[in-house]
């Protein structure tokens, strides 16, 4: 599903954000991407959505060489990827339903499709009863669930989550990871960048550790080393 080959990203402001990174994530895998702040986790995720292009190396997503895509082909790539980013907030002046529907509307989905798909996505994350609520009426965990529904509604092949539990209490964090695991069990590949060592250690999935822009560890059923926390 995802292949990075000798990828270097240099923003030109000091040390490269990523240095000769090699990584393969198979279809249906669940990967925790861990590492201290500035290790290159967000940069790696942005490479996959082609928000940035590598200075060197190649990136493949779902069989497409992302680095060689024309600008006009990028939207098609992104329709394969669901993204839950910490800074990608819900739109405050729209209801939960409208926030999720927005994703479909911008890709030209008909209102019939919107009516069909939005409840399914909200149901999956348990937010259907609050479909008419505005983001200000939701807790942090609920907002994150809506963000997850927004990413899921396009039925992505790959789900990227950048610190999705960053501001949540332990119970809500657990709920979010369990949701991600459930989505993963349905066939979606999930890559989750996190600082939360309790979650990583509790769920024992594949762990890829980044440090100073390099992959220093890649373990199946790995744990979070406490010195990172």
């Amino acid at each position: 599903m995802v292949v990075l080959r000798d990828v270097t990203v240099d923003y030109g402001n000091g040390a490269p954000a990523l240095q000769r990174v090699n990584l393969t994530v198979e279809k249906g895998e669940f990967v925790f991407l861990v590492g201290p702040t500035g290790a290159g986790k967000s940069t790696l995720l942005k490479l996959l959505t082609r928000e940035i292009v590598p200075t060197e190396g190649q990136v493949w997503v779902a069989g497409q060489e992302v680095t060689r895509l024309k600008v006009s082909q990028v939207p098609q790539l992104r329709r394969l990827i669901g993204a839950v980013f910490q800074d990608l907030l819900l739109l405050p002046d729209r209801t939960v339903w409208e926030n999720v529907a927005f994703t479909l509307q911008v890709t030209g989905a008909s209102s019939a499709t919107v009516r069909r798909e939005v409840p399914k996505a909200l149901e999956m994350v348990g937010m259907l009863p609050k479909a008419k609520a505005f983001p200000r009426e939701l807790s942090g965990g609920e907002k994150q669930k809506v963000a997850l529904a927004r990413a899921l509604v396009i039925r992505p092949l790959l789900l990227l989550a950048d610190e999705p539990t960053g501001n949540l209490d332990p119970a809500s964090s657990q709920e979010i990871v369990e949701l991600l695991l459930r989505i993963n069990r349905q066939g979606t590949t999930v890559i989750m960048a996190t600082h939360d060592w309790t979650l990583v250690n509790a769920y024992r999935q594949r762990v890829v550790e980044l440090r100073d822009g390099r992959i220093v560890r890649d373990e199946l059923r790995g744990v979070f080393r406490l010195e990172l926390a």
């Binding site: 928000e51 911008v106 039925r155």
Partner: protein, 310 residues
């Protein structure tokens, strides 16, 4: 990926486009409401541009209609004879003029009749003859030509005749009036153009403001696979709506002013001209097209400059 019906049929394609258009307009409407003051300023400027253009278009139209109504008079000219020319000279000239190919009819107007006509204009309160002491008017001939175009040629022949003192015809005044109107209209067009540049700058700024206000939406749109034109769509739709509302406001103002004029003006040339300034379907279409073009083109330029593929 969410497919509409599982195939890429033409119906799905059309439905997809319609859904996008509805989405663009909805988003644009949300934006207009979000930035009330900027929206008002932009719509007002568009209305001013279109209103100014429309006012002069109507003015010219009114003048042309009025000229058409008064067409019969345009074929007439009046020849004032020299003071020493008596009735016999006048009748001889009348006979000669009847033989001219451009002329249909020639009517002799005695100097006393001329004075009576002027007296009628002033009413009976001011006895002109008593005031002046004598009748200063010469004998005159009223000539009806075959067409308004023949009047100028006929006048040129008449001016060369020794008995003739002065040739007066409304066509000359009308010609000067139309020329003046044309100059004013050209001036107004230049002013409209300057205002259009102001409107362009305002719309550009309004779109920039919208972009700032919608940066989260834009990031989401880009990340979920919206094409660059889908991202630009709501902003272009916003410009379109500026145009539609600006055009409608301009039409409402013009219509309102015309109605007010008709309510207050009494019968006469001004009222006649105002009645002739009909805001028909063609005028409404052209005014709206101008407003929509101004709004949409400005917004498209802004969107092209400010929303880049990412």
């Amino acid at each position: 990926m969410v497919a509409l019906c599982g195939t890429n049929c033409a119906g799905c394609f059309a439905l997809s486009w319609l859904s996008l258009l509805a989405f663009f307009l909805t988003e644009a409407w949300i934006n207009l409401r979000r930035h009330g003051v900027a929206t008002f300023a932009t719509v007002f400027t568009v209305a001013l541009v279109v209103g100014l253009w429309g006012a002069f278009a109507l003015l010219v139209k009114g003048a042309q209609r009025w000229l058409l109504w008064e067409g019969a008079k345009l074929e007439r000219l009046c020849v004032f004879l020299k003071p020493q020319a008596d009735e016999q000279v006048a009748h001889r000239l009348q006979e000669r003029l009847r033989r001219l190919p451009q002329v249909i009819a020639v009517r002799f107007v005695h100097r006393e009749e001329g004075l009576r006509r002027i007296q009628q204009l002033f009413g009976d309160t001011v006895p002109l003859k008593d005031l002046i002491g004598h009748n200063p008017l010469p004998h005159a001939l009223e000539i009806t030509c075959r067409s308004p175009q023949a009047v100028a040629r006929c006048a040129a022949i008449l001016k060369k005749m020794p008995e003739v003192d002065e040739v007066a015809y409304p066509a000359a005044a009308v010609k000067r009036f139309v020329q003046l109107l044309g100059q004013v209209r050209r001036g107004a067009n230049v002013f409209s153009l300057l205002l259009a540049i102001v409107a362009f700058a305002l719309i550009h700024n309004a779109i920039r403001l919208s972009l700032y206000g919608r940066r989260n939406e834009i990031r989401i749109m880009q990340l979920v696979g919206a094409t660059v034109w889908t991202v630009r769509g709501p902003f272009i739709a916003e410009g379109f709506l500026y145009g539609v509302f600006g055009g409608l406001v301009a039409l409402a103002i013009l219509g309102g002013l015309r109605w007010l004029g008709l309510q207050t003006l009494e019968a006469g040339y001004l009222r006649g001209a105002l009645e002739a300034m009909v805001m028909d379907a063609d005028f409404v279409q052209r005014a709206l097209a101008l407003a929509v073009a101004l709004g949409t083109v400005s917004a498209t330029v802004a969107a092209l400059q400010l929303v880049k593929p990412q």
